[in-house]
């Protein structure tokens, strides 16, 4: 279970992870749910926070150049 949860963390973009973290905090602050639920949320939130921190600290811009596009011929067959 735990491993699975960690794995799906790696697929999240920074934005997704941060949004989930914000939702968790809002849920926790609304103070609903049992203690156990809250602690589970907290743990998930903690992982998301660490994941986001790691992304921010280690990210390097990926740059890719597409090949120059072929300019469509003016004498196209379609009409």
């Amino acid at each position: 279970m735990k491993n699975q949860a960690d794995n799906d963390l790696n697929d999240l973009s920074y934005e997704q992870a941060f949004q989930e973290l914000e939702q968790i905090v809002e849920k926790l602050e609304s103070n609903q749910g049992t203690l156990d639920e809250s602690m589970a949320l907290f743990e998930r939130g903690q992982k998301l926070s660490q994941y986001c921190t790691a992304l921010l600290e280690s990210a390097e811009l990926k740059v890719q150049q597409l090949n120059p596009a072929a300019i469509p011929d003016k004498t196209e067959k379609s009409l």
Binding site: S13, Y14, E15, F18, L21, E22, I24, V25, L28, E29, N31, L35, S38, M39, L41, F42, G45, Q46, S49, C52, T53, L55, L56, A59, E60, L61, K62, V63, Q64, Q65, L66, P68, A69, A70, I71, P72
Partner: protein
């Protein structure tokens, strides 16, 4: 005048013919020709032009390009229209009297005479007066197209889409060799290295530029999860930026499935692409900035959310522990003895260790909170001042954290969010624990 010049021309032609004839006689044949020097021919042409009534005193209308004023103070420029160009020069005394700066793209009327610059082997207009005629032809073309596209609704504000806050994939349409690309990549690296950048290279000036820009936009639009496209070019003359006023380019930008940010030229340059884009940035660098959040801001927001996370978890835990204790006290007070004993035993069995465990967690959560607070403080030491806190220091700059550091009458410096002021200690009290 006309007669005089006719006579002069006739004379010149006669001179030439005589020279040719004399030479032919000498060599014994009428058909061999003699060579004139370059200087002779050029001088002849000059006299020919100078003697022409029309060319001596004319107004010429055209569009200015390549205006330059070297250290000499003379003004050199080219007049052009759709079919031809004409070199012009205005000497310093007249150039200094011009009431407006001559800029590329301006439509002007120039007065002067046409003659030959013999050393350069070119004819040119020696200008003595210049006056603007309305707005330049290019500009008029621009206005016409702008009005047309505007009436079609291409520039409507409600067509503009909001940009994604944190784009994962960013497309760039620009010249692969331009400085604009490096500026944008550096900005993205610094602000938001989380992104992936796809560069669709295109010429950004010249005849092939519009078609290449359109093709690059189309290619990027075929990438399904692309979040935003930057269409950019560094500064240049009006003509250099002209591709971004091309109807094909403007329509492609307006029709892009992916939101577009334009960053063409400098702050003062406006192109039709800017009007069609979802967001107009004044420069390529600004376009990259508008496309992305700043890493430092993200780190601060993350810190704040994480602080709220641990704080709310700690509160929840604290509440639960309090409830537990209260419940136990109520039980002791209200329950019949047998029940008390029974419950007490269950409590002891079930909860004692659990409570200890929770208390330990609460303790570690508090530690964690402090850790986050410190990290946040490191990120932005002055943010806290805006919430009404102040930093008190001696006038020597030493921060006060203890009563022992001050004596009555000592002068202190109080730093608040928008500045600092001085205050004097009137008395000191012990205690003060929160």
């Amino acid at each position: 005048m006309a007669v005089a010049s006719r006579n002069f021309l006739d004379e010149a032609v006669d001179t030439l013919n005589q020279a040719r004839y004399a030479c032919a006689m000498q060599q014994g044949t009428l058909f061999s020709s003699i060579s004139l020097t370059v200087g002779d021919v050029t001088h002849y042409l000059r006299e020919l032009l100078d003697s022409d009534e029309v060319l001596r005193d004319i107004w010429v209308m055209g569009e200015v390009s390549n205006a330059s004023t070297p250290a000499s103070g003379h003004l050199y420029f080219t007049l052009k229209d759709q079919t031809a160009t004409l070199k012009c020069v205005m000497w310093k005394p007249q150039a200094m009297r011009l009431h407006f700066p001559l800029r590329a793209g301006m439509a002007v009327e120039v007065h002067g005479g046409i003659s030959v610059y013999e050393q350069g082997g070119q004819y040119q207009l020696y200008a003595d007066a210049i006056r603007p005629v309305g707005e330049g032809a290019l500009y008029q073309e621009f206005i016409l197209l702008k009005n047309q596209l505007e009436s079609e609704g291409l520039f409507d504000p409600d067509r503009k889409r909001t940009l994604p806050e944190m784009p994962a994939k960013i497309g760039i349409v620009t010249s692969p060799t331009g400085a604009a690309l490096q500026d944008m990549l550096n900005t993205l690296k610094r602000r938001y290295p989380l992104a992936e950048v796809l560069i669709a290279p295109a010429a950004v000036q010249g005849d092939s530029a519009p078609a290449e820009i359109v093709a690059a936009l189309q290619r990027l639009n075929r990438i399904p999860d692309l979040d935003v496209i930057l269409v950019a070019r560094g500064g240049g003359s009006l003509e250099d930026l002209w591709a971004f006023n091309d109807e094909r380019v403007v329509r492609a930008v307006a029709g892009s499935r992916v939101p577009v940010i334009s960053g063409v030229g400098h702050e003062t340059d406006f192109t039709l692409t800017d009007f069609a884009a979802d967001v107009r940035a004044p420069t390529p660098t600004a376009a990259a900035e508008m496309a992305t959040p700043d890493k430092t801001d993200l780190a601060e927001r993350l810190g704040q959310v994480t602080l709220r996370l641990t704080a709310s978890a700690a509160m929840k835990l604290e509440g639960a522990l309090d409830d537990n204790a209260a419940l136990r006290r109520r039980l002791e007070r209200v329950s019949p003895l047998w029940a008390i004993n029974d419950q007490r035993q269950r409590m002891d069995d079930l909860s004692q260790r659990e409570i200890l465990a929770w208390q330990n967690r609460l303790h570690s959560l508090r530690l964690e909170n402090t850790g986050w607070q410190q990290r946040l403080a490191a990120l932005n030491p002055y943010a806290v001042l805006q919430r009404g806190y102040a930093i008190v220091s001696t006038c020597g700059g030493q921060v006060i954290h203890s009563r022992a550091q001050v004596t009555p009458q000592a002068e202190l410096r109080i730093q608040v969010s928008d500045g600092a002021f001085k205050a004097r200690v009137t008395e000191t009290n012990s205690g003060g624990e929160k």
